[in-house]
Protein backbone atom coordinates (compact mmCIF):
# COMPACT_ATOMS: atom_id res chain seq x y z
CA UNK A 1 0.00 0.00 0.00
CA UNK A 2 1.36 3.40 -0.93
CA UNK A 3 1.66 6.21 1.66
CA UNK A 4 -1.12 8.10 -0.12
CA UNK A 5 -3.38 5.02 0.06
CA UNK A 6 -2.55 4.77 3.75
CA UNK A 7 -3.53 8.42 4.26
CA UNK A 8 -6.76 7.82 2.35
CA UNK A 9 -7.68 4.87 4.56
CA UNK A 10 -6.90 6.91 7.66
CA UNK A 11 -9.17 9.68 6.36
CA UNK A 12 -12.00 7.25 5.57
CA UNK A 13 -11.76 5.47 8.91
CA UNK A 14 -10.99 8.62 10.89
CA UNK A 15 -14.37 10.27 10.73
CA UNK A 16 -16.29 9.85 13.99
CA UNK A 17 -19.58 8.02 13.40
CA UNK A 18 -22.42 7.27 15.76
CA UNK A 19 -24.29 4.73 13.65
CA UNK A 20 -21.49 3.14 11.62
CA UNK A 21 -18.54 0.96 12.51
CA UNK A 22 -15.87 0.81 9.84
CA UNK A 23 -13.12 -1.74 9.49
CA UNK A 24 -10.37 -2.09 6.91
CA UNK A 25 -9.10 -5.35 5.46
CA UNK A 26 -5.77 -4.42 3.87
CA UNK A 27 -5.26 -7.83 2.21
CA UNK A 28 -8.40 -7.44 0.09
CA UNK A 29 -8.62 -3.62 0.11
CA UNK A 30 -12.05 -4.20 1.61
CA UNK A 31 -14.02 -1.70 3.67
CA UNK A 32 -16.46 -3.30 6.09
CA UNK A 33 -19.37 -1.01 6.98
CA UNK A 34 -21.45 -2.17 9.90
CA UNK A 35 -24.59 -0.22 10.66
CA UNK A 36 -26.02 0.05 14.15
CA UNK A 37 -28.90 2.45 14.69
CA UNK A 38 -30.31 2.19 18.21
CA UNK A 39 -32.85 1.47 19.47
CA UNK A 40 -34.43 0.53 16.12
CA UNK A 41 -32.20 -0.42 13.22
CA UNK A 42 -33.70 1.72 10.50
CA UNK A 43 -32.75 4.53 8.11
CA UNK A 44 -32.91 7.62 10.27
CA UNK A 45 -31.91 10.97 8.78
CA UNK A 46 -28.71 10.95 10.84
CA UNK A 47 -27.82 7.40 9.81
CA UNK A 48 -28.33 8.25 6.13
CA UNK A 49 -26.19 11.37 6.48
CA UNK A 50 -23.38 9.30 7.99
CA UNK A 51 -23.65 6.68 5.22
CA UNK A 52 -23.47 9.42 2.62
CA UNK A 53 -20.35 10.88 4.29
CA UNK A 54 -18.77 7.43 4.29
CA UNK A 55 -19.57 6.76 0.63
CA UNK A 56 -18.42 10.23 -0.39
CA UNK A 57 -15.13 9.63 1.42
CA UNK A 58 -14.67 6.37 -0.50
CA UNK A 59 -15.40 8.20 -3.75
CA UNK A 60 -12.84 10.89 -2.86
CA UNK A 61 -10.00 8.36 -3.02
CA UNK A 62 -10.61 6.39 -6.23
CA UNK A 63 -8.90 3.03 -6.47
CA UNK A 64 -8.25 2.67 -2.75
CA UNK A 65 -11.37 0.71 -1.74
CA UNK A 66 -11.84 -2.29 -4.05
CA UNK A 67 -14.63 -4.00 -2.09
CA UNK A 68 -17.30 -2.51 0.17
CA UNK A 69 -19.23 -4.92 2.37
CA UNK A 70 -22.21 -3.80 4.38
CA UNK A 71 -23.74 -5.71 7.26
CA UNK A 72 -25.52 -4.96 10.50
CA UNK A 73 -24.24 -4.70 14.04
CA UNK A 74 -27.72 -5.42 15.37
CA UNK A 75 -28.40 -9.12 15.98
CA UNK A 76 -31.17 -10.65 13.81
CA UNK A 77 -31.87 -7.41 11.93
CA UNK A 78 -30.21 -6.20 8.73
CA UNK A 79 -32.46 -3.19 8.52
CA UNK A 80 -36.13 -2.42 9.17
CA UNK A 81 -36.17 0.27 6.47
CA UNK A 82 -37.75 3.67 6.93
CA UNK A 83 -37.95 5.57 10.20
CA UNK A 84 -41.63 4.86 10.88
CA UNK A 85 -41.95 7.45 13.64
CA UNK A 86 -40.67 10.12 11.24
CA UNK A 87 -43.07 8.90 8.51
CA UNK A 88 -46.02 9.10 10.90
CA UNK A 89 -44.98 12.61 11.94
CA UNK A 90 -44.51 13.89 8.38
CA UNK A 91 -47.62 12.14 7.05
CA UNK A 92 -49.73 13.62 9.85
CA UNK A 93 -48.22 17.04 9.15
CA UNK A 94 -49.06 16.60 5.45
CA UNK A 95 -45.46 17.51 4.66
CA UNK A 96 -44.89 16.22 1.12
CA UNK A 97 -41.67 18.22 0.71
CA UNK A 98 -39.97 16.67 3.71
CA UNK A 99 -41.12 13.17 2.77
CA UNK A 100 -39.72 13.77 -0.70
CA UNK A 101 -36.46 14.99 0.81
CA UNK A 102 -36.28 11.82 2.93
CA UNK A 103 -36.93 9.66 -0.13
CA UNK A 104 -34.28 11.46 -2.14
CA UNK A 105 -31.71 10.91 0.58
CA UNK A 106 -32.53 7.20 0.29
CA UNK A 107 -32.21 7.05 -3.47
CA UNK A 108 -28.96 9.03 -3.38
CA UNK A 109 -27.48 6.23 -1.29
CA UNK A 110 -28.96 3.60 -3.56
CA UNK A 111 -27.67 5.44 -6.61
CA UNK A 112 -24.16 5.43 -5.15
CA UNK A 113 -24.36 1.64 -4.91
CA UNK A 114 -25.86 1.37 -8.40
CA UNK A 115 -22.94 3.32 -9.84
CA UNK A 116 -20.23 1.88 -7.55
CA UNK A 117 -18.59 0.10 -10.48
CA UNK A 118 -17.72 3.48 -12.00
CA UNK A 119 -15.81 4.24 -8.79
CA UNK A 120 -13.94 0.95 -8.97
CA UNK A 121 -15.83 -0.51 -6.01
CA UNK A 122 -17.37 -3.98 -5.89
CA UNK A 123 -20.18 -4.11 -3.30
CA UNK A 124 -21.61 -6.90 -1.15
CA UNK A 125 -24.58 -6.82 1.23
CA UNK A 126 -24.46 -9.43 3.94
CA UNK A 127 -27.89 -10.15 5.42
CA UNK A 128 -27.56 -11.85 8.79
CA UNK A 129 -30.98 -10.67 9.90
CA UNK A 130 -34.32 -9.50 8.61
CA UNK A 131 -34.63 -6.84 5.92
CA UNK A 132 -37.92 -5.03 5.59
CA UNK A 133 -39.05 -2.37 3.14
CA UNK A 134 -36.23 0.12 2.67
CA UNK A 135 -33.84 -2.36 4.30
CA UNK A 136 -34.42 -4.79 1.44
CA UNK A 137 -34.40 -2.01 -1.16
CA UNK A 138 -30.98 -0.93 0.10
CA UNK A 139 -29.64 -4.50 -0.05
CA UNK A 140 -30.88 -5.00 -3.62
CA UNK A 141 -28.71 -2.12 -4.84
CA UNK A 142 -25.50 -4.02 -3.98
CA UNK A 143 -23.71 -6.11 -6.61
CA UNK A 144 -23.95 -9.29 -4.53
CA UNK A 145 -26.21 -10.32 -1.68
CA UNK A 146 -25.43 -13.09 0.78
CA UNK A 147 -28.25 -14.11 3.11
CA UNK A 148 -28.05 -16.32 6.15
CA UNK A 149 -30.72 -19.01 6.30
CA UNK A 150 -32.72 -17.45 9.17
CA UNK A 151 -33.33 -14.21 7.24
CA UNK A 152 -36.81 -13.06 6.31
CA UNK A 153 -37.38 -10.15 3.98
CA UNK A 154 -40.10 -8.40 2.07
CA UNK A 155 -41.94 -5.21 1.29
CA UNK A 156 -44.75 -4.91 3.87
CA UNK A 157 -45.69 -1.32 2.93
CA UNK A 158 -48.89 -2.30 1.10
CA UNK A 159 -50.27 -3.58 4.42
CA UNK A 160 -50.56 0.03 5.54
CA UNK A 161 -51.60 1.32 2.13
CA UNK A 162 -48.20 2.53 1.04
CA UNK A 163 -45.64 1.10 -1.36
CA UNK A 164 -41.87 0.77 -1.25
CA UNK A 165 -40.75 3.87 -3.13
CA UNK A 166 -36.97 3.78 -3.07
CA UNK A 167 -36.01 1.36 -5.80
CA UNK A 168 -38.00 -1.77 -4.89
CA UNK A 169 -39.71 -2.04 -8.27
CA UNK A 170 -36.62 -1.14 -10.29
CA UNK A 171 -34.18 -3.49 -8.59
CA UNK A 172 -36.61 -6.39 -8.12
CA UNK A 173 -37.64 -6.27 -11.78
CA UNK A 174 -33.99 -6.19 -12.83
CA UNK A 175 -33.03 -9.13 -10.64
CA UNK A 176 -36.13 -11.32 -10.73
CA UNK A 177 -38.50 -10.08 -13.38
CA UNK A 178 -41.84 -8.36 -13.39
CA UNK A 179 -43.94 -11.23 -12.00
CA UNK A 180 -41.82 -11.59 -8.88
CA UNK A 181 -41.74 -7.82 -8.33
CA UNK A 182 -45.50 -7.71 -8.72
CA UNK A 183 -46.00 -10.50 -6.22
CA UNK A 184 -43.58 -9.09 -3.67
CA UNK A 185 -44.67 -5.47 -3.75
CA UNK A 186 -48.41 -6.02 -4.05
CA UNK A 187 -48.74 -8.87 -1.55
CA UNK A 188 -46.65 -7.37 1.26
CA UNK A 189 -45.65 -10.97 2.06
CA UNK A 190 -42.41 -11.89 3.76
CA UNK A 191 -40.03 -14.37 2.14
CA UNK A 192 -37.49 -16.74 3.63
CA UNK A 193 -33.87 -16.62 2.49
CA UNK A 194 -34.45 -19.78 0.46
CA UNK A 195 -37.47 -18.22 -1.30
CA UNK A 196 -35.42 -15.12 -2.07
CA UNK A 197 -32.71 -17.33 -3.59
CA UNK A 198 -35.26 -19.22 -5.71
CA UNK A 199 -36.47 -15.88 -7.06
CA UNK A 200 -32.95 -14.69 -7.82
CA UNK A 201 -33.10 -11.81 -5.38
CA UNK A 202 -30.15 -12.99 -3.34
CA UNK A 203 -27.06 -14.63 -4.78
CA UNK A 204 -26.20 -17.04 -2.02
CA UNK A 205 -27.84 -18.53 1.06
CA UNK A 206 -25.59 -19.90 3.78
CA UNK A 207 -26.25 -21.44 7.16
CA UNK A 208 -26.88 -19.03 9.98
CA UNK A 209 -23.55 -17.84 11.35
CA UNK A 210 -21.68 -18.73 8.14
CA UNK A 211 -22.18 -15.36 6.42
CA UNK A 212 -18.80 -13.93 7.32
CA UNK A 213 -16.86 -16.93 5.93
CA UNK A 214 -18.99 -16.99 2.79
CA UNK A 215 -18.45 -13.28 2.25
CA UNK A 216 -14.68 -13.60 2.54
CA UNK A 217 -14.71 -16.51 0.09
CA UNK A 218 -16.83 -14.54 -2.35
CA UNK A 219 -14.62 -11.43 -2.17
CA UNK A 220 -11.45 -13.54 -2.53
CA UNK A 221 -13.00 -15.12 -5.62
CA UNK A 222 -13.86 -11.78 -7.19
CA UNK A 223 -10.64 -9.96 -6.26
CA UNK A 224 -8.36 -11.47 -8.94
CA UNK A 225 -11.06 -10.67 -11.55
CA UNK A 226 -11.94 -7.29 -10.03
CA UNK A 227 -11.45 -5.14 -13.14
CA UNK A 228 -13.29 -7.55 -15.45
CA UNK A 229 -16.11 -8.03 -12.94
CA UNK A 230 -16.67 -4.29 -12.64
CA UNK A 231 -16.57 -3.86 -16.41
CA UNK A 232 -19.18 -6.61 -16.75
CA UNK A 233 -21.33 -5.06 -14.02
CA UNK A 234 -21.13 -1.72 -15.78
CA UNK A 235 -22.30 -3.40 -18.97
CA UNK A 236 -25.11 -5.07 -16.99
CA UNK A 237 -26.14 -1.62 -15.82
CA UNK A 238 -26.40 -0.48 -19.43
CA UNK A 239 -28.25 -3.64 -20.50
CA UNK A 240 -30.78 -3.44 -17.68
CA UNK A 241 -30.85 0.26 -17.08
CA UNK A 242 -32.11 1.89 -13.91
CA UNK A 243 -32.60 5.59 -14.32
CA UNK A 244 -32.12 8.12 -11.50
CA UNK A 245 -34.91 10.27 -12.90
CA UNK A 246 -37.30 7.29 -12.66
CA UNK A 247 -36.27 6.73 -9.05
CA UNK A 248 -36.98 10.41 -8.36
CA UNK A 249 -40.41 10.21 -9.99
CA UNK A 250 -41.30 7.17 -7.89
CA UNK A 251 -40.15 8.95 -4.73
CA UNK A 252 -42.40 11.88 -5.61
CA UNK A 253 -45.38 9.53 -6.00
CA UNK A 254 -44.44 7.79 -2.76
CA UNK A 255 -44.38 11.12 -0.88
CA UNK A 256 -47.80 12.05 -2.23
CA UNK A 257 -49.17 8.63 -1.27
CA UNK A 258 -47.74 8.91 2.22
CA UNK A 259 -49.62 12.12 3.03
CA UNK A 260 -52.86 10.45 1.96
CA UNK A 261 -52.55 7.69 4.54
CA UNK A 262 -55.60 7.47 6.75
CA UNK A 263 -55.60 7.31 10.51
CA UNK A 264 -56.14 3.53 10.26
CA UNK A 265 -53.08 3.18 8.01
CA UNK A 266 -50.96 5.26 10.37
CA UNK A 267 -52.17 3.18 13.32
CA UNK A 268 -50.98 0.04 11.51
CA UNK A 269 -47.64 1.73 10.95
CA UNK A 270 -47.52 2.58 14.64
CA UNK A 271 -48.33 -1.05 15.48
CA UNK A 272 -45.34 -2.12 13.46
CA UNK A 273 -43.15 0.49 15.14
CA UNK A 274 -44.38 -0.73 18.52
CA UNK A 275 -43.53 -4.32 17.55
CA UNK A 276 -40.02 -3.25 16.52
CA UNK A 277 -39.62 -1.70 19.96
CA UNK A 278 -40.93 -4.86 21.66
CA UNK A 279 -38.21 -6.91 20.00
CA UNK A 280 -35.57 -4.42 21.16
CA UNK A 281 -36.91 -4.89 24.67
CA UNK A 282 -36.13 -8.61 24.43
CA UNK A 283 -39.58 -9.96 23.54
CA UNK A 284 -39.78 -13.08 21.37
CA UNK A 285 -42.07 -11.52 18.81
CA UNK A 286 -41.23 -8.37 16.88
CA UNK A 287 -41.91 -6.69 13.55
CA UNK A 288 -41.92 -9.93 11.52
CA UNK A 289 -44.56 -11.54 13.74
CA UNK A 290 -46.62 -8.33 13.75
CA UNK A 291 -46.56 -8.20 9.94
CA UNK A 292 -47.80 -11.78 9.84
CA UNK A 293 -50.62 -10.87 12.24
CA UNK A 294 -51.55 -7.86 10.09
CA UNK A 295 -51.50 -10.09 6.97
CA UNK A 296 -53.78 -12.58 8.70
CA UNK A 297 -56.19 -9.89 9.84
CA UNK A 298 -56.30 -8.45 6.32
CA UNK A 299 -57.04 -11.92 4.92
CA UNK A 300 -59.86 -12.41 7.45
CA UNK A 301 -61.30 -9.01 6.62
CA UNK A 302 -61.12 -9.79 2.91
CA UNK A 303 -62.82 -13.14 3.48
CA UNK A 304 -65.43 -11.43 5.66
CA UNK A 305 -66.23 -8.89 2.99
CA UNK A 306 -66.56 -11.64 0.40
CA UNK A 307 -69.06 -13.41 2.68
CA UNK A 308 -71.15 -10.27 3.01
CA UNK A 309 -74.80 -10.22 4.13
CA UNK A 310 -76.15 -10.21 0.59
CA UNK A 311 -73.78 -12.76 -0.85
CA UNK A 312 -75.13 -16.14 -1.97
CA UNK A 313 -72.69 -17.91 0.38
CA UNK A 314 -74.12 -16.12 3.40
CA UNK A 315 -77.64 -16.78 2.30
CA UNK A 316 -76.93 -20.47 1.93
CA UNK A 317 -75.31 -20.48 5.39
CA UNK A 318 -78.42 -18.90 6.80
Amino acid sequence: MTPSDQRAIEAILGRPYRTLRLEWNAELAMLRVRTGVRPIQCYTLAAMTELQFCFDDVASYPGVVRHLVMSSDVPSVFNFGGDLALFVLLARAGDVDSLRMYGRKCIDLIWWMETADSRGVHTVAMLQGDALGGGLEAALSFHKIIAERNVQAGFPEVLFNLFPGMGAWNFTIRKSGFAVANDMVLSGRLYSAEELLQRGLVDMVVDTGEGEAAMLQLVRGVDPRHRGTLAALKARRIAARIDYADLERIVDDWAHSAVQLTDRDLRLMERLARAQVRKVGGADDGAIEEIKRIELEAAWQAAGSRIGPSSPTTQSLN
Binding site: T44, V88, A93, S98, M101, R271, A273, V277, R278
Partner: protein
Amino acid sequence: MSSPFGDLVLRTDEARRQFDSQPVLLDAVANGMSVERYRAFLLELYHVVWHFNPITAAAACRIPDSLREVRYFLYEHMHEEMGHELWVLNDLEAVGVPRAVAEAHRPGPYTLGMTGYNYWTVEHRHPAAVLGMLYTLEVVASVYGGPFSSAMRESLLLDGDNGISFISSHTTMDSEHIADLREIVNKINDPVAMEAMVEAAELNFHHFGRLFATLP
Protein backbone atom coordinates in the same frame (compact mmCIF):
# COMPACT_ATOMS: atom_id res chain seq x y z
CA MET B 1 -35.37 20.45 3.46
CA SER B 2 -36.44 23.72 1.96
CA SER B 3 -39.46 24.72 4.04
CA PRO B 4 -39.10 26.16 7.57
CA PHE B 5 -41.14 23.25 8.97
CA GLY B 6 -38.87 20.83 7.13
CA ASP B 7 -35.84 22.56 8.65
CA LEU B 8 -37.39 22.26 12.10
CA VAL B 9 -37.98 18.52 11.58
CA LEU B 10 -34.50 17.92 10.18
CA ARG B 11 -32.59 19.98 12.74
CA THR B 12 -34.41 18.47 15.70
CA ASP B 13 -34.53 14.89 14.40
CA GLU B 14 -31.64 13.74 16.56
CA ALA B 15 -33.32 15.23 19.64
CA ARG B 16 -36.51 13.36 18.73
CA ARG B 17 -34.52 10.16 18.27
CA GLN B 18 -32.80 10.68 21.62
CA PHE B 19 -36.22 11.13 23.17
CA ASP B 20 -37.62 7.94 21.66
CA SER B 21 -34.49 5.99 22.61
CA GLN B 22 -35.18 6.35 26.34
CA PRO B 23 -35.46 2.77 27.67
CA VAL B 24 -38.34 3.72 29.98
CA LEU B 25 -40.26 5.20 27.05
CA LEU B 26 -39.46 2.22 24.80
CA ASP B 27 -40.70 -0.14 27.45
CA ALA B 28 -43.79 2.00 28.12
CA VAL B 29 -44.72 2.18 24.43
CA ALA B 30 -44.28 -1.58 24.02
CA ASN B 31 -45.58 -2.90 27.33
CA GLY B 32 -47.19 -0.06 29.26
CA MET B 33 -46.01 0.65 32.79
CA SER B 34 -46.90 -0.14 36.38
CA VAL B 35 -49.73 1.85 37.90
CA GLU B 36 -47.26 3.49 40.32
CA ARG B 37 -45.06 4.71 37.50
CA TYR B 38 -48.04 5.81 35.43
CA ARG B 39 -49.32 7.87 38.37
CA ALA B 40 -45.88 9.48 38.70
CA PHE B 41 -45.93 10.28 34.98
CA LEU B 42 -49.41 11.82 35.09
CA LEU B 43 -48.43 13.95 38.09
CA GLU B 44 -45.58 15.45 36.05
CA LEU B 45 -47.77 15.72 32.96
CA TYR B 46 -50.36 17.66 34.95
CA HIS B 47 -47.85 20.46 35.50
CA VAL B 48 -46.69 20.43 31.88
CA VAL B 49 -50.29 20.77 30.71
CA TRP B 50 -51.15 23.34 33.40
CA HIS B 51 -48.39 25.67 32.16
CA PHE B 52 -49.11 25.16 28.47
CA ASN B 53 -51.61 27.99 28.06
CA PRO B 54 -49.86 30.51 30.33
CA ILE B 55 -46.61 29.99 28.35
CA THR B 56 -48.50 30.32 25.08
CA ALA B 57 -50.18 33.50 26.36
CA ALA B 58 -46.80 34.93 27.37
CA ALA B 59 -45.60 34.27 23.84
CA ALA B 60 -48.75 35.59 22.14
CA CYS B 61 -48.54 38.96 23.88
CA ARG B 62 -44.96 39.38 22.64
CA ILE B 63 -45.48 38.29 19.03
CA PRO B 64 -44.82 41.31 16.76
CA ASP B 65 -47.38 42.41 14.20
CA SER B 66 -45.15 41.08 11.44
CA LEU B 67 -46.12 37.63 12.75
CA ARG B 68 -49.75 38.49 13.44
CA GLU B 69 -50.95 35.18 11.97
CA VAL B 70 -48.82 33.32 14.49
CA ARG B 71 -50.50 35.27 17.31
CA TYR B 72 -53.96 34.41 15.99
CA PHE B 73 -52.90 30.77 15.66
CA LEU B 74 -51.82 30.81 19.32
CA TYR B 75 -55.16 32.31 20.40
CA GLU B 76 -57.03 29.47 18.69
CA HIS B 77 -54.68 26.92 20.12
CA MET B 78 -55.13 28.24 23.65
CA HIS B 79 -58.88 28.11 23.22
CA GLU B 80 -58.70 24.45 22.17
CA GLU B 81 -56.38 23.51 25.01
CA MET B 82 -58.35 25.35 27.68
CA GLY B 83 -59.27 23.13 30.62
CA HIS B 84 -57.25 20.14 29.44
CA GLU B 85 -55.29 20.03 32.70
CA LEU B 86 -58.60 18.91 34.23
CA TRP B 87 -58.56 15.88 31.92
CA VAL B 88 -55.22 14.90 33.45
CA LEU B 89 -56.71 15.32 36.93
CA ASN B 90 -59.61 13.07 35.91
CA ASP B 91 -57.15 10.45 34.63
CA LEU B 92 -55.23 10.70 37.88
CA GLU B 93 -58.41 10.13 39.86
CA ALA B 94 -59.23 7.13 37.64
CA VAL B 95 -55.91 5.52 38.59
CA GLY B 96 -56.31 6.30 42.29
CA VAL B 97 -54.76 9.73 42.86
CA PRO B 98 -57.16 12.17 44.59
CA ARG B 99 -57.37 15.65 43.10
CA ALA B 100 -55.95 17.33 46.22
CA VAL B 101 -52.85 15.10 46.10
CA ALA B 102 -52.34 15.85 42.41
CA GLU B 103 -52.67 19.59 42.89
CA ALA B 104 -50.25 19.54 45.81
CA HIS B 105 -47.64 17.50 43.92
CA ARG B 106 -44.28 19.20 43.59
CA PRO B 107 -42.99 18.61 40.05
CA GLY B 108 -39.60 17.05 39.42
CA PRO B 109 -36.52 18.93 38.18
CA TYR B 110 -37.05 18.20 34.48
CA THR B 111 -40.66 19.38 34.57
CA LEU B 112 -39.58 22.53 36.39
CA GLY B 113 -36.65 23.00 34.01
CA MET B 114 -38.82 22.55 30.94
CA THR B 115 -41.63 24.88 32.00
CA GLY B 116 -39.18 27.43 33.40
CA TYR B 117 -37.18 27.42 30.18
CA ASN B 118 -40.34 27.80 28.08
CA TYR B 119 -41.37 30.93 30.02
CA TRP B 120 -37.84 32.32 29.78
CA THR B 121 -37.37 31.72 26.06
CA VAL B 122 -40.64 33.35 24.97
CA GLU B 123 -39.92 36.33 27.19
CA HIS B 124 -36.21 36.81 26.58
CA ARG B 125 -35.20 34.98 23.41
CA HIS B 126 -38.01 35.04 20.86
CA PRO B 127 -41.76 34.53 21.35
CA ALA B 128 -41.88 32.21 18.30
CA ALA B 129 -39.92 29.73 20.41
CA VAL B 130 -43.32 28.66 21.71
CA LEU B 131 -43.80 26.89 18.35
CA GLY B 132 -40.79 24.71 19.19
CA MET B 133 -42.48 23.72 22.45
CA LEU B 134 -45.72 23.09 20.59
CA TYR B 135 -43.93 21.01 17.97
CA THR B 136 -42.37 18.76 20.59
CA LEU B 137 -45.55 18.23 22.57
CA GLU B 138 -47.57 17.54 19.43
CA VAL B 139 -45.00 15.11 18.05
CA VAL B 140 -44.89 13.32 21.39
CA ALA B 141 -48.69 13.09 21.47
CA SER B 142 -49.40 12.29 17.82
CA VAL B 143 -46.51 9.90 17.17
CA TYR B 144 -46.03 8.16 20.50
CA GLY B 145 -49.33 8.87 22.28
CA GLY B 146 -51.33 6.26 20.34
CA PRO B 147 -49.09 3.25 21.01
CA PHE B 148 -48.51 4.43 24.60
CA SER B 149 -52.20 4.79 25.42
CA SER B 150 -52.94 1.38 23.82
CA ALA B 151 -50.15 -0.19 25.86
CA MET B 152 -51.42 1.47 29.06
CA ARG B 153 -54.98 0.33 28.39
CA GLU B 154 -53.76 -3.25 27.95
CA SER B 155 -51.29 -3.31 30.83
CA LEU B 156 -53.60 -1.72 33.43
CA LEU B 157 -56.77 -3.34 32.01
CA LEU B 158 -58.40 0.08 31.77
CA ASP B 159 -61.97 0.42 30.61
CA GLY B 160 -62.15 2.42 27.38
CA ASP B 161 -60.44 5.78 27.77
CA ASN B 162 -60.82 5.79 31.54
CA GLY B 163 -57.44 6.86 32.96
CA ILE B 164 -55.93 7.61 29.53
CA SER B 165 -58.40 10.22 28.27
CA PHE B 166 -55.86 13.03 27.98
CA ILE B 167 -53.24 11.04 26.05
CA SER B 168 -55.74 9.16 23.92
CA SER B 169 -57.69 12.25 22.87
CA HIS B 170 -54.53 14.26 22.19
CA THR B 171 -53.22 11.55 19.89
CA THR B 172 -56.04 12.31 17.48
CA MET B 173 -56.31 16.02 18.25
CA ASP B 174 -52.59 16.70 17.87
CA SER B 175 -52.50 14.76 14.60
CA GLU B 176 -54.70 17.51 13.21
CA HIS B 177 -52.78 20.19 15.10
CA ILE B 178 -49.46 19.18 13.60
CA ALA B 179 -50.73 19.87 10.09
CA ASP B 180 -51.87 23.33 11.28
CA LEU B 181 -48.51 23.86 12.98
CA ARG B 182 -46.69 23.05 9.72
CA GLU B 183 -48.69 25.73 7.93
CA ILE B 184 -47.94 28.38 10.53
CA VAL B 185 -44.24 27.50 10.88
CA ASN B 186 -43.91 27.72 7.10
CA LYS B 187 -45.01 31.36 7.31
CA ILE B 188 -42.03 32.29 9.48
CA ASN B 189 -39.08 33.51 7.49
CA ASP B 190 -36.90 34.83 10.29
CA PRO B 191 -33.62 33.09 11.16
CA VAL B 192 -33.69 34.34 14.77
CA ALA B 193 -37.19 32.93 15.26
CA MET B 194 -36.11 29.67 13.62
CA GLU B 195 -33.10 29.33 15.93
CA ALA B 196 -35.35 29.92 18.93
CA MET B 197 -37.85 27.29 17.70
CA VAL B 198 -35.12 24.73 17.11
CA GLU B 199 -33.57 25.31 20.52
CA ALA B 200 -36.96 25.11 22.24
CA ALA B 201 -37.86 21.87 20.44
CA GLU B 202 -34.50 20.33 21.33
CA LEU B 203 -34.76 21.33 24.96
CA ASN B 204 -38.35 20.12 25.27
CA PHE B 205 -37.49 16.75 23.67
CA HIS B 206 -34.51 16.44 26.00
CA HIS B 207 -36.33 17.36 29.19
CA PHE B 208 -39.46 15.39 28.33
CA GLY B 209 -37.26 12.37 27.68
CA ARG B 210 -35.43 12.86 30.98
CA LEU B 211 -38.78 13.31 32.70
CA PHE B 212 -39.67 9.80 31.47
CA ALA B 213 -36.26 8.35 32.23
CA THR B 214 -36.27 9.56 35.83
CA LEU B 215 -39.77 8.36 36.72
CA PRO B 216 -39.59 6.34 39.95
